[in-house]
């Protein structure tokens, strides 16, 4: 059970890391448009995707 002394703090760190990742994603505009990008999967398009800036 001693491993819990490591795993519990580690889970806190993980949660914080996930929070930071989402934070950056929101600030990068990834959640600004929830409609259009869904179409990219449906459409046959062999050319490179439009470049996006974070």
């Amino acid at each position: 059970m001693d491993i819990l002394y490591l795993l519990i703090p580690l889970s806190v760190v993980l949660a914080v890391a996930a929070g930071a990742a989402f934070w950056l994603a929101v600030d990068g505009g990834q959640f600004d448009d929830l409609d259009r990008p869904a179409l990219d999967v449906v459409v046959d398009d062999d050319r490179p995707a439009p470049r996006r800036t974070p």
């Binding site: 059970m1 819990l4 929070g19 929101v26 448009d33 409609d35 046959d44």
Partner: protein
């Protein structure tokens, strides 16, 4: 395209493949493409479709959910060139990474996500464009381009060529704030959600383990981990609630954030103390989940409100950025300028299909304009020299010159937007009642929570805090204070979309409660322009033939009577007129088919043959035009102010809604009774003085009737002010001068009926909302008091009760 059989492409044989309009018979627009031949309604559609095909973007047709807009021919080279001007670009473009520039565009007519995809692809194909993003819901596109490799105008032209109107868009501060708000809410939601999930991981073992199963030091470690992860949730995600509570306490009032903040603080403080001391219960899981539910509720509510408000704002998006300013004395020569630089007195050339850059007066002899954005009327309207023109309307005819009278914030469109904003800002009575009620309610909630806590201290001290927190949270009157604003916002937006601009907060309320509709002035029911009402033929020729002669004699004339005759004879073949001479104030004489005719006043026309005028309409208030030849009288035309085409239907609909309809007018009894009779209005007061009108309205109100008054809003302000709610016919009037609670911008009485219906639906929704909010609290309060509601259930209940209210208000949108 791959070698496999191409998917079946939509589009029936008789409908345009591109825009879905019927293909006219004999049209020869089309080409063969993989998947079958394509037929088009016009060359424009064919060209666009060929371009789409040529770029390998046929997928658009496969995935689109709605037909494309029909491309319109445009002559906008000069306007486009202006957008590349550095000074003009300063207003909407900014520097971006690597020396590139970025601009926001407003793209109209996008109907589904496929449109957005298509536009993105087409823009990226334009030389110099590095990045293009299209947002469907806000109808915006962001384009980043390299000024060294290409121009912005090329990108805009590419969008327009597809048939989507596009302009540079000045991101207003409000829109920017809106985006920041949305992002902050999402971040709060994420933080609370992650915290909730992880804290629950630490809490669950304690719930399912038996006594002594978990070593005490591990249990303490998990409490500490829970505390650590709850800190950002309380400190960041819940910050708006604490800020709101602090704000309302500073103003010595009890807002709805107070009980929420209090409950959170109490639970958090107790849990933290228990963690530090190592004994006692911790509630971190409940706290984080509650904050998450609150944040989710606020986020969804924000979305719903934004959607509701979207129709209201941005009326001025139709204002063009560029204008063609004419040089003094010239009718065609000039230079393009930014629309913002125009000043009253400037002369501007508006080409076919262009939007008017400002309010103004027509300088050319005539023009056709489409004022759909203001009135909802999609047909083009004729205007004559000197007539007022509205900025943002579209030139539907050929090019014309106009003199600018009002620019920028003084234009009609900008005024309208301010009127609507004022109505939104004013709290109508029912909203004030709800607001006051919720303040009293909060006090009651605080008291109830205290009482519950004290009571449970004697019953079961372990659960006292827990019950008090549940009571605080579950009975928060969020739904109560949201009930009215949500319904009002949606309703105002929906009304504005239909051409009914409520400029006062109480307009909807009073309109819903109205029992009597009083039309002030006959002019509110009549069209305001002469129309042929009746023809009497004195010979055995038909009236139609006489009408053809009369209309032919007045062809090309701008005299109102001639135009009324011409309008009545529209579409009929007119005989050729050989010689024509008009005598101002009397009539006209002409030779038609070898015979000499006169039309005009009885004396003038009678001189041709010398016979006495027959008896006809001796006591009419209308104008009578007589037609005669050398042998005698032929026909007489009664021309007068005709009824609005929709008036009869509107009056009948008002009757059907249970409203009494009155006509109050200063006109002669003959005219008033004719109008009232044709419309089925029973209550008529003619030859009424302004004082008489006021007495009439007061008398109605003394009987307990609620009066809605419809007038022109300009010189009948006193009597309009007396009515419970006043509606001004906004056709062509200066809206800023109108003294009315609401403006019927469409000028159509049918929209008045629609507004009454919507106002009544709004009232119904509002009552449902208030009933729901009160009922919810009445049910959950005893439950929470009895300790049967956990803080978690309390959070869910509170958030969903608010959402129900907003969702109910959204029902007001969109339906007939």
């Amino acid at each position: 395209m791959s070698g496999a059989a191409p998917p079946a492409l939509p589009g029936a044989a008789t409908d345009c493949f591109h825009c879905g309009l019927p293909v006219p018979a004999g049209a020869a627009f089309g080409f063969d493409a993989p998947g079958g031949g394509r037929a088009f309604c016009c060359a424009g559609c064919e060209a666009v479709s060929r371009a789409i095909s040529g770029r390998g973007l046929d997928d658009y047709y496969r995935v689109r959910a709605a037909a494309a807009p029909t491309p319109q021919p445009r002559h906008d080279a000069e306007e486009l060139a202006l957008y590349d001007d550095a000074a003009v670009q300063q207003r909407f473009a900014r520097e971006a990474a690597g020396g590139s520039r970025e601009a926001a565009l407003l793209v109209d007519a996008m109907r589904c996500t496929a449109c957005a995809w298509l536009i993105e692809r087409v823009m990226l194909a334009v030389p110099g464009v590095v990045e293009a993003r299209v947002q469907l819901d806000s109808r915006r596109a962001v384009v980043r381009w390299d000024p060294a490799a290409g121009t912005l105008s090329a990108a805009i032209a590419a969008i327009r060529a597809l048939g989507y109107p596009a302009w540079p868009y000045e991101p207003r501060r409000a829109a920017e704030a809106d985006r920041r708000e949305r992002r902050a809410m999402l971040r709060r939601l994420w933080v609370a959600g992650l915290g909730m999930m992880q804290v629950m991981m630490y809490a669950v073992p304690a719930y399912i383990a038996g006594a002594g199963d978990i070593p005490p030091d591990i249990a303490r470690l998990m409490d500490w981990a829970g505390l650590l992860l709850t800190l950002p949730v309380i400190g960041y995600s819940a910050a708006p609630f604490f800020a709101g509570a602090a704000r309302s306490l500073r103003h010595r009032s009890l807002g709805m954030d107070v009980p929420v903040a209090l409950g959170l603080l109490a639970a958090f403080a107790a849990s933290t103390v228990a963690t530090l001391r190592g004994t006692g219960a911790v509630y971190f899981d409940s706290i984080t989940m509650f904050v998450f539910l609150l944040a989710a509720g606020r986020y969804l509510e924000f979305h719903a409100r934004r959607r509701a408000g979207l129709g209201l704002a941005h009326l001025d998006r139709y204002m063009p950025h560029a204008a063609h300013r004419l040089r003094e004395g010239s009718a065609v020569e000039g230079e393009p300028v930014a629309a913002a630089l125009l000043v009253p007195g400037d002369r501007v050339l508006v080409r076919a299909g262009e939007a008017l850059p400002a309010d103004g007066e027509l300088e050319s002899p005539s023009a056709w304009v489409n004022e759909a954005l203001l009135t909802g009327e999609s047909r083009a309207m004729p205007r004559e020299r000197g007539a007022g023109l509205l900025g943002g309307s579209v030139n539907a005819g050929s090019a014309f010159a106009m003199r600018v009278t009002r620019v920028g914030p003084r234009t009609t469109i900008a005024t309208l937007e301010r009127l609507v904003e004022r109505a939104l800002a004013e709290r109508p009575r029912w909203a004030q009642v709800a607001h006051r009620a919720s303040a009293a309610f909060v006090a009651g909630v605080l008291f109830a929570a205290l009482a519950a806590g004290l009571a449970w201290l004697t019953i079961d001290p372990e659960r006292a805090l827990w019950v008090a927190v549940s009571v605080l949270i579950v009975t928060c009157p969020c739904a109560l204070s949201l009930a009215a604003p949500a319904a009002m916002t949606v309703s105002l937006g929906e009304l504005a979309r239909r051409g009914f601009i409520a400029s006062r907060g109480h307009a909807i309320e009073a309109l819903a409660a109205a029992t009597d509709v009083v039309f002030d002035k006959t002019g509110t029911l009549t069209a305001g322009r002469p129309r042929l009402l009746e023809v009497v033929a004195f010979r055995r020729r038909t009236g139609v033939h006489a009408l053809a002669i009369a209309a032919a004699m007045g062809r090309g004339s701008s005299h109102p009577l001639d135009r009324a005759l011409a309008a009545a004879a529209a579409g009929k073949p007119l005989p050729r007129v050989d010689s024509h001479a008009s005598t101002p104030g009397a009539g006209a004489e002409a030779v038609v088919g070898g015979r000499r005719y006169r039309i005009g006043q009885a004396r003038f026309a009678g001189e041709l043959h010398g016979k006495p005028a027959p008896m006809a309409w001796m006591h009419t208030a209308d104008t009578v035009a007589w037609l005669a030849d050398e042998a005698g009288w032929i026909a007489a035309f009664r021309i007068g102010d005709g009824l609005r085409p929709e008036a009869a239907g509107a009056v009948a609909a008002l009757h059907a809604l249970g409203l009494r309809v009155h006509l109050l007018t200063g006109d002669e009894p003959a005219v008033a009774h004719r109008v009232a009779g044709e419309l089925g209005i029973e209550r008529v007061r003619s030859r009424a003085s302004p004082e008489g009108k006021q007495d009439y309205v007061r008398a109605l109100q003394r009987e307990g009737r609620r009066v809605a008054m419809v007038g022109d809003g300009v010189n009948d302000a006193p009597v309009l002010g007396l009515a419970d709610v006043s509606v001004a016919m906004g056709e062509g009037a200066d809206l800023a001068q109108l003294k009315a609670d609401a403006v019927l911008a469409s000028g159509s009485l049918a929209d008045l009926v629609g507004a009454v219906r919507l106002a009544r639906r709004t009232r119904r929704v509002l009552r449902q909302n208030l009933g729901w909010a009160l009922g919810y609290n009445a049910v959950v309060l005893p439950l929470a008091f009895a300790g049967m509601v956990t803080p978690l259930v309390a959070g869910i209940g509170m958030a969903s009760s608010s959402l129900v209210v907003v969702a109910n208000a959204l029902r007001l949108r969109g339906r007939g």
